[in-house]
Symmetry: C3
C-alpha cells in the first residue's frame, strides 16, 4: 500500500460524511508578525494590545483572518488536494476572538455533492467548524469547491445542493464578549469615517496597491499549512487545470 | 467626499502643527524573529535574553531599530505619503528599552517649512516622539523630507528652518536603567574590540555583503506599517520622481 | 590591525582546540512561525501546544530542527567562513526539548584534521555542543567540512581522522522526559502509519514538492545567524568554488 497521500477525489465524498482534519495548530505572536509582513494590515485592534484592551479585548486577539487561514488550511489535505477550482464561501461567522496560545482544530461535514455534466469532476460542499483547545467554536463556514474524479466511469452520486443564506443576518453575527466601543479612540484608529458615513453604492478608490512576490505567496501558504500543490510547487502550475 | 486618503501635501503643513499618528502598534517576539530574518543582526543583547539579563536588561528588550522602524512607520501616512525624497534625520535618541508587549504610539510636531524655488514642492521638518503604553518617551528624532505641493499656485509659507544639533552630545544620551557592563562576556559578544581600540579616521572593510530581494524589502515595510507607495507597489516606481 | 573578521583557515585549527562560539541566541515563538513559513512543516507536536501537552510535553517545545539551525549557525563564523564544501554530519543527538525562551550557546572541539593532497585545503572535524541557559546539553553532533588554507606553503598537520559511529545506536537516543504516547491521537496527528507499517527498502513518493526562492533561502540563513557568505551575497557565488 502506497504511503503517498493522494487526497480525496470527488467519488470519495458522501453527503453526511464527517472529516476530522489533522494537525491542530497553535496561533502565536509569530503569526501576528508574519501576517503583518505579508499583508499590509493596520487595523488598530490587532495592531495594538493597548488599543484592544481599551475596547474590552484583553488579552490581545489576533486578526480574524489569521485564525481563518489557519483553520482553513487544516481542511485542504482532505477536501481540496485534487481541486480544479475553489468556487465559493458562505455563512462564515467568527464566534469568539482567537488569542495567541489558542490551538485550532477543524472538522468538516459534507453537505452537498453535484457531479459536473462532463463526468470528469464535481462540486463538493462542506461546512467546516474550527474549535479551540476548550472545544469552543471559533469559526464556521461553508465552502464549495470543484474536485477531480479519479475514475470517470463511476456513476454520479445523487445531487444534493445545500440551501445557503445569501448573507449572514446581522442578528446572527456574534459580538465578542466584553467588546465596548464607548471609549473608542477615533484618532488612534486612524479612520475618520463611521458607519453612518457610508452609503450603499458608494465607490472607494483604494489607492494603496500592493505587489506580492512568489516568496510571500509561498510563505503564506506554508505558514497556514495549506498543502495545495499549486501554492508550493511551480511545476504544478503549467497544467492549466488548477488554480 | 472621497474616502481615499491622499495624504498631506506641502501646503497642508504649518509650523507648530501637531500630528497624532494613528494605529498604535504592539512590539512582539514575532518582530524580533522577522527582523532577524530580514536584517543580518547578531548583537548579543537583542539576540540573547540570557546575555541581556547578564548586563542588567531583563526582560529582554528588542533591538532599538525594531522600535524605530515601528515608530517611524506611524508617521508616514501623515507626513510623507507625497514625499519626493527623504532628506535627513537628526537628534535621534533612544530613551528606554522597548520590550515585547510594549505598544508604541507616535506624534509629530511640524518645526520647519521651506518651499523649493521651483514652487513645486518644499521641505517639511518634523520632530517625532514615540511613547509606550505608559506614556513614557521611547524614542524621539527630527526628520526632514521633501513633499509635493498639491496646488503649485499657492504662495510659499514663511521659511522656518530649525536649528539642529550637528550631533547628539554624549551627555544627552540616555543610558538604560540598570545597564551594567561589569560582567560583560566579551567571548559571548563575539567582538574583541572595545572603545579604546578604535581611532578617528580608521577604515573597516565590512566584508559580509547582503543581498536583499523585493520580497524582503516589501515584507519589511509592511511589517513596520510604512505606507509609502514606493515600497509596496512596483507600479509606483517608474515615474522616477520618488524614492 | 584589521577589524575585518576573515575567519579561520585550515592552518588555524589544531586537534584538541576548543572554540567558544559567540552570540548566544534565544529561541522564540517568532522562530516557530518563521520556520513554518519557510519549511512546509506539519508535525503535530511542534504545531500544536495542546497536542504536545497531550503527549507530556508542556510547555510547548519548538521543532528540533529550529534548535539545530540556531545552534549550528553559531559555529559558522569560527569553523566554516572559508569552507570549500560542507562534507558531513554524524552522531547528532537531541538531548532535551528546546522551549521558547531558551537561550542556546554552542562550543566546538576540533577532533580531526586532514590536509588535502593538493595542499590548498583540508578537512576539519569538529564536535559541537549546544547548551541552554542552565548549561544543560540540548544538542551535540560531529561535522566535517573542507576549509581553504590561507598560506599553501605551510606544512600539513599530522592527519587525525576521528572514528565516528556509522549510526547513533537506539539505546543512545535520549527520550524527552515525560514523553508519553499512550494517549496519542492518530487522527489529529494525520499519519495513519506506525512503526510496524514500514519496511526496510520500502520507497515512498513524497509528492508535495516545494519551490524555494532566493528570498526564503536568505531569510532562513539570516534567521539562523549563519554567516557563510554564499548564503547572503549573490556576488559570492560565481567563483564556483563554494557551496
Amino acid at each position: 500500500m502506497s504511503k503517498t497521500n493522494a487526497g480525496n477525489f470527488f467519488e470519495d465524498f458522501t453527503v453526511g460524511q464527517v472529516l476530522e482534519h489533522a494537525t491542530p495548530r497553535t496561533v502565536t505572536e509569530g503569526d501576528r508578525a508574519l501576517y503583518g509582513a505579508i499583508y499590509p494590515t493596520r487595523f488598530s485592534i490587532p495592531s495594538s494590545a493597548a488599543f484592544a484592551a481599551s475596547v474590552g479585548l484583553d488579552p490581545h486577539p489576533v486578526e480574524e483572518l489569521i485564525a481563518f487561514h489557519v483553520a482553513f488550511g487544516k481542511t485542504v489535505p482532505d477536501v481540496s488536494l485534487n481541486a480544479v477550482a475553489n468556487l465559493g464561501y458562505a455563512e462564515l461567522r467568527f464566534h469568539r476572538p482567537v488569542l495567541p496560545g489558542d490551538t485550532l482544530s477543524t472538522r468538516s461535514e459534507v453537505i452537498g455533492l453535484k457531479q459536473n455534466s462532463n463526468g470528469k469532476s464535481g462540486v463538493v460542499y462542506v461546512r467546516s467548524t474550527a474549535t479551540n483547545q476548550r472545544g469552543e467554536v471559533a469559526i464556521d463556514w461553508v465552502r464549495w469547491v470543484m474536485v477531480h474524479k479519479r475514475d470517470q466511469s463511476l456513476p454520479a452520486p445523487e445531487t444534493v445542493v445545500p440551501e445557503l443564506a445569501p448573507a449572514v443576518e446581522p442578528a446572527d453575527l456574534v459580538i465578542p464578549e466584553g467588546l465596548d466601543f464607548t471609549g473608542y479612540d477615533v484618532v488612534a484608529a486612524g479612520e475618520p469615517h463611521r458607519f453612518d458615513d457610508y452609503e450603499v453604492g458608494e465607490k472607494i478608490d483604494h489607492v494603496d496597491g500592493v505587489t506580492l512576490t512568489d516568496s510571500e505567496h509561498q510563505q503564506a501558504t506554508r505558514l497556514w499549512q495549506n498543502t495545495a500543490k499549486v501554492h508550493f510547487n511551480v511545476e504544478a502550475r503549467p497544467d492549466g487545470n488548477r488554480l
